[in-house]
Amino acid sequence: MAIEVRNVDKRFDDFVALDDVSITVQDGALTALLGPSGSGKSTLLRIIAGLETPDGGEVLIGGRDVTHSPARTRDVGFVFQHYAPFKHMTVHDNVAFGLSVRKRPKDEIGARVKELLSLVRLDGLAKRYPSQLSGGQLQRMALARALAVQPQVLLLDEPFGALDAQVRAELREWLRRLHDEIHVTTIFVTHDQEEAMEVAQEIVVMNAGRIEQAGPPGELYESPANEFVMSFIGPVNRLGDAFLRPHDIQILPEDDASGEEALVERVVRLGFEVRVELKLHDSREIWAQVTRENAQELELREGQILSVRMPAPRVFAASSGSARPALRA
């Protein structure tokens, strides 16, 4: 099911959560809504789900105008940030809930639940209660529950936010593989740009209730539309109005002085990657990103004076950095 959001506005008392927002999500796509806290991404997701009603604009799912339809008629699966488990029900009953509410026959429910628990790798935990599960298991249960009724659209609100790094990484991988298997239109909300880049096919970058840019991860990284997108996605050096990617800064070997002079202030070794904090001769401070081998070759150390070569930095036209919302597939 394709999703279309047209000119949606939403206010909470004085606070403008969404301002004339429009996006299009293609059928079967895996899209991320990316932005900082308060950008409106969760609100947008909830409006698509039917958990909030917009003050203006329309929402269409599969061509049908659902703007004023309640959540339960929209056939969307929703996964909450804190899983929203039914604590008094077993895992089995949680997953079965949507089906039992539709009064499906018992054996049909039993078979489907079993299938889903297998899919999310929670076999054998059917009789447990949510309080007995770990965060990662709860999240998978929440997913199974949402998928049980075969929704046309799957929406996830910061699904991995409350988990620790290792589990997060595993689940990200797993979500992508799940989407490869079940081509349901999926939108997930995150504030973690790495997560969006890794998982999504399309990213919609939001800020202060507006859409900054929408497109595939590569495009957002290589051709950011404005300051905000460039700073939000990927590491960046800011030099006044100009922006520079740390890995674009080339550190020349000691005997080569053809570039700009810079003092190595600090060398931070982060495993594969090495951050080099530099001070240019005009006192501006930037940092460069080099590989481990590179760092070793250059024999980087604090106090070293080296030469660096930088490409022309990127400058953006408008200073506030809010581009008009882009319509993308």
Partner: protein, 295 residues
Amino acid sequence: MSISSAAGVGRARGAPASGSGHAGERAARARTLGVRSIALGYLALLLLAPVAMIFYRTFEHGVGQVWSAVTQPNAQHAFWLSLEIVAIVVPLNTVFGVGMALLLERGRFWGKGLLGVLIDLPFAISPVVVGLAIVLVYGKTGWFGDWLAGHGIQVIFSVPGMVLATAVVSLPFVVRETLPVLRELGTDGEQAAATLGATPWQSFWRVTLPGIRWGVVYGVVLTTARALGEFGAVSIVSGRIEGQTETLPLYVQDRFENFDLTGAYAAAVVLALLALATLLAMNLMTRRTRRRAQA
């Protein structure tokens, strides 16, 4: 000066006071024991001794007398009437309580504060005043007096009035106990149910209600205890007609005024036992909710 003196004032859950000086330790222990004796002594004099006394006095002359007192027809009638009233009032106030809690917590309208005050009002008013107010509305000379008489409905001096009075005095409990639990439950579960296709009723029945059930049950226990023990309001509203409109608490007073101490004590002991059963239920429930909170 030393931390040990603070430890004496602080938690002493069976662990020995961590102390530097023995004198400090001894003083701390003395203080603890002193405070403990004051508290326990007060409780013993005010609470325990009198309750023990009544059990003693009742069974002083043997169980036989107690049994015959308890099986008197008027006593029996009073007992069953009390239970009947409780059986009507508790479900009514429970439905009201849960509904009100939902309204106060999830609804959006002006005047919630006023509503809260109205619901809590029965707490602040003397039961006697409650009885008076009910008579002023539903009594013969009350606001609805003529209308009720015209329809042949007798409220005051009969069971409906007693049910009404009991309902008023025990009104706030379920609301008060359910509200915080409802607040803590949050709306996530209900939202999830909505996205899964549940109607509001299904969502309430299968997600909300199970989620708040301990608050509701605790409120029900308190309501039951209050309804069972109600005296002042019912005293006014019922007219205390022997064998007809006497609840068990009213019966106790009746026996006492007729110098039938045995009868009074016997009925009192029955009520006291029911009260102890209530305490037990309350205890079990608070322990269960505490265990849950730790899980």
